[in-house]
């Protein structure tokens, strides 16, 4: 019986049920079919393996392609300005002066301001959902609502910011006595702050829920209060996860284009304070890419894209690494 | 039924088999003694090996069950009881063999009168029926029957106690029965042991069924 099993492996044509004819019980018949099929399946197996491997290779090719494209297309700008590109304080395409310092500053200001505003809220939501009320309709509602924040397209935030938030900020600015423009870094930060709450919140929530309940029980059994459990068990256990959430939020804020473009005011000047209008790297590209009428200008914009790419990728990778460290 | 229960059941069956064999040994010995049938006595002597084999087998089975099933509670008590009963039955087998040996050794037929005087046959009958009754009480987990054994053993004890006087009287009356009389005394002594062993067995039965250790103490409570 076994020899016929062996035969199947060899490419020799299969005799139908060789060796099985002696018995004709239902089991042997099915055994027969089983073996015939299996031969075909060994080939299908190999094809399948190869397909998914090719797909995996393709992803690598894709990303390499993206990087190569960016680098190649920004070669003109890199050659002409070099590193000074980053520190140049003036951006004047008409005069072919491409210094991105104002946008760098704008990007960092908006992102960090947004981060500072959003983090307490994110962590509060994370604790609320992860520790205090993990189950029930009200926490479910909160969870879905917060997830919704992430689902709303950024262009809608931008539109709403432009139509509703900017006038409010303008009133606020005139009240505290700065130039009442409305559009500017502060407005963008507010919008961004709302938009990035869910990232840190949902990651934080899952990290907090991952804290083994037996650790919390250990603390409770030693007579700890809830606050002490949070401070001494949950926070230490999740700190790198929470930080990773912050990094992901930051990455998101840095790369965010449309909402910022619509409310930041779009000027290439160095912002004087957080209420000034400005530009971020992304918003410059969005605004000027189709207007770039000569190669160096276009190349400069692409180099800006490259910088943005590198910064966001680095920030994101740090976040990812941290998450991996925690979940492992 | 769990595997353990199966095993216990088969041990029980085996023990009952041994029991029947021992009973038949005792009965044959009685017949051999009464009829002075040396061949029958020799048969008993031969079959003693089978009793021994039974004992070994049951001991070994118990050991395996201990090792493999880790019995507790009723099962443990049952096994411990089986171990003890096993030993006791083997002793009874031994005694039957011993008595048969006397019969084989003895030079001539025993004096019938001696039997009557010493009540040795009654003793034999009692011992055999006690053994049978304990077996029944074991088969049926019947502790009432087991308890009744204790009283019946006293009859044997009384006969045994009276034996020395009766035997010495018999010898004094007729010196020629001396050899016979000494044998009969030895037989009586042995039968008294059978009574004791049976009593022990009854105790073990009560021990495992009711989990009371009756042995040695509570002499008064014993009688229901």
């Amino acid at each position: 019986m076994e020899t016929s099993v062996d035969k199947v492996l060899k490419p020799a044509p299969l005799k139908n049920g060789a060796g099985f004819n002696s018995q004709k019980t239902p089991e042997t018949v099915s055994t027969n079919k089983r073996l015939k099929r299996s031969h075909r399946q060994i080939r299908a197996e190999n094809i399948f393996r190869r397909t998914i491997m090719i797909v995996a290779v393709a992803t690598v090719v894709l990303v390499t392609g993206i990087m190569v494209t960016l680098a190649y297309q920004s070669r003109l700008s890199i050659q002409s300005a070099g590193l000074g590109f980053l520190w140049g304080k003036v951006w004047d395409p008409v005069r072919d002066i491409f210094g991105v310092y104002p946008f760098l500053l704008g990007t960092l200001l908006t992102s960090f301001l947004a981060l500072i505003i959003s983090v307490p809220f994110s962590f509060a939501v994370a604790l609320f959902l992860g520790e205090y009320f993990p189950k029930g309709w009200m926490p479910d509602l909160l969870k879905n609502t917060v997830e919704l924040i992430a689902a709303v397209p950024s262009v809608i935030y931008g539109f709403w910011g432009l139509a509703v938030l900017v006038p409010i900020v303008r009133t606020f600015e005139s009240a505290i006595g700065v130039d009442a423009i409305g559009q500017g870094i502060f407005s963008s930060s507010l919008i961004l702050a709302i938009m990035i709450i869910p990232y840190a919140a949902s990651l934080g929530r899952s990290m907090i829920q991952m804290v083994p309940s037996n650790l919390k029980e250990a603390a409770y059994s030693l007579g700890a209060t809830r606050w002490e459990v949070i401070r001494m068990v949950i926070l230490p256990y999740t700190k790198s996860g929470l930080f990773a959430g912050v990094m992901l939020s930051l990455g998101r804020a840095l790369g965010e284009t449309m909402a910022v473009t619509m409310v930041i005011g779009n000027t290439s000047l160095i912002p004087k304070n957080i209420f000034s209008p400005g530009n971020t790297m992304a918003s410059v590209i969005a605004n000027e890419f189709t207007e770039a009428d000569h190669p160096v200008y276009l190349s400069a914009l692409i180099e800006l894209g490259l910088v943005l790419f590198v910064v966001t990728v680095v920030i994101n990778m740090i976040g990812k690494r941290l998450i991996k460290g925690v979940t492992k | 039924m769990t595997q353990l229960e199966h095993e216990l059941q088969s041990v029980k069956v085996e023990l009952i088999g041994m029991w029947s064999l021992v009973e038949s040994q005792l009965k044959k010995t009685r017949t051999a003694m009464v009829l002075f049938d040396r061949d029958l006595a020799r048969e008993v002597s031969m079959k003693e090996k089978r009793v021994n084999a039974f004992e070994l087998k049951i001991d070994r089975d118990c050991e395996n069950i201990f090792a493999l099933y880790c019995p507790v509670a009723i099962d443990l008590r049952f096994l411990l009881a089986v171990l003890k009963i096993n030993t006791n039955l083997e002793r009874i087998g031994d005694i039957a063999d011993g008595i048969s040996k006397y019969i084989i050794e003895a030079l001539e037929n025993f004096d019938e009168d001696l039997f009557a005087k010493t009540e040795v046959i009654k003793m034999f009958d009692d011992a055999i029926s006690m053994l049978a009754d304990t077996r029944i009480s074991f088969e049926k987990d019947d502790t009432t029957l087991a308890r009744s054994i204790f009283q019946r053993d006293e009859v044997l004890d009384d006969i045994n106690y009276a034996a020395i006087d009766r035997i010495s009287n018999a010898i004094a009356e007729d010196l020629t029965v001396m050899h016979d009389a000494l044998y009969v005394l030895s037989i009586i002594r042995k039968l008294e042991r059978v009574g004791d062993q049976t009593k022990n067995i009854a105790e073990e039965i009560i021990f495992f069924v009711e989990a009371k250790v009756l042995k040695h103490h509570q002499e008064t409570q014993r009688k229901p």
Partner: protein, 281 residues
Amino acid sequence: MSVAIKYRIGKSTVFQALVMVLSFACVVPLIFILIYILQAGITKINWHFLTNLPKPVGETGGGIANALVGTSIIIATASVIAIPFGILCGIYLSENKNSKLAYWSRLCIDILQGVPSIVIGIVAYFWLVKPLNGFSALSGSVALAIMMLPIVVRSTEETLLLLPDSLREAAYALGMPFHRVILKVIVPCGISGILSGVMLSVARITGETAPLLFTAFGNPYLTTDITKPMQSLPLLIFNYATSPYNDWHDLAWGASCILLIWVLLLNIFTKLITRKWKVQL
């Protein structure tokens, strides 16, 4: 001792209150936004709005039919490209956890996930728009497909990794070949996770504007030719919202409202379907 304990308990209670207040404060802006947009947009939506092209400045009325059709086509094309690719890649990653290729592939997917959408727009511009000499819906779809890819891959991979090894072993132990183990056991068991990843990625790209700016570009007319520039909802919103005309703002509010409802529905639908199809392990 007792005072100390009371103090500790008090601290605990105060902190809890703080957490609750902050949590619910998050919800406020979202509700404002939703209400505002629904208020502003819902009145604009009618049959005419859905079936007509936008009118030039000055004329009242007009609709967004071109954007609706365009968005549907662009998204459908992107999905066709990204979903099978993403799922197969996710399978590879989950089945070859430790291989070199998996490491690099995973790294690339991670990178891709962090790439700002605008940058992907740039890349698509150079890959398709320039060689084909003109903006096209196809280039927009490719850009969006690249955006979808990491979401689909990661959700597939994570779902499959969550499935216990015992499931795989059960299948292997029955003598099943690799592809059957994957397609008949692993994927069906993880179908709800994979689907939710797919649907979320669709929801996500529906609202993407930046990569379309220099690819699909926008088109005031209705077209179904994917080699031509094509209008899409987010593009329309961006263009009209930043215009100075109130009529166009109205169009944008209507479009925002539709986009929002579509995204909400997709999210809710995802929740339902994943709950329904969830395989109880």
